[in-house]
Symmetry: C2
DNA sequence: TCATTATATTTATATATTACGATATACAAA
DNA sequence: TTTGTATATCGTAATATATAAATATAATGA
């Protein structure tokens, strides 16, 4: 049953990153709009800049999103394929 | 807006429950075998009884699994439909 | 250069989660 | 009853996570 404990650890790591309302909101917004900068997220979520930035840092270091700078702004996009599949299912209306 | 916020909170709550290697292993095992008792999980996972039982308590109070007693044993099964869909995707090999 | 804007990092503190031994409960059989 | 077995709950120390203010960096334009 537990041949591959790593498998469970990795999956749990990813879920742990997703398992926060602000991060879910960020990721869902990025998926639906194709990308977004930090200032816009701040407005939407009503959280201070440093808080948003720290959540983005987690998403980034987990390989879920990536940011590309364009002048002053940094535009974030979702790059993890599993997340692209999981999120719509998670928010599926039934 | 409040509505949306609830949506993210609820989804995050569910993910947080799943986001633990032992609980993932339990749920995946239950899904694949159709059910299992605590003693068997203990053997498989090599964790003390109270630890397993506390993870089951979390899964139970989140409505992800339910247990039905049969004599001394309690057989657990997964009852959350989203989880039944999400887990196979999470562990899908590509 | 300096000022401004967008984002990241550091630091401190508060809160939540985890693990596990000890103990309690539920049931069955003697 | 009493004993043995399966599972649940309690107490709590160790660890992890969240938040936000303060500060730092990076890019741009005057």
């Amino acid at each position: 049953m537990d041949n591959d404990f790593n498998k469970y650890n990795e999956a749990a790591e990813m879920l742990k990153i997703l398992a926060h309302p602000v991060r879910l909101c960020i990721v869902k917004g990025l998926l639906e709009n194709g990308g977004c900068n930090v200032s816009h997220m701040q407005e939407c979520l009503g959280a201070p800049q440093s808080t948003i930035s720290q959540h983005l840092q987690k998403l980034r270091s987990a390989g879920i999103v990536t940011g590309s700078r364009n002048g002053l702004e940094i535009k974030y996009t979702v790059i993890d394929e599993r997340v692209k599949v999981l999120l719509p299912i998670l928010f599926n209306k039934r």
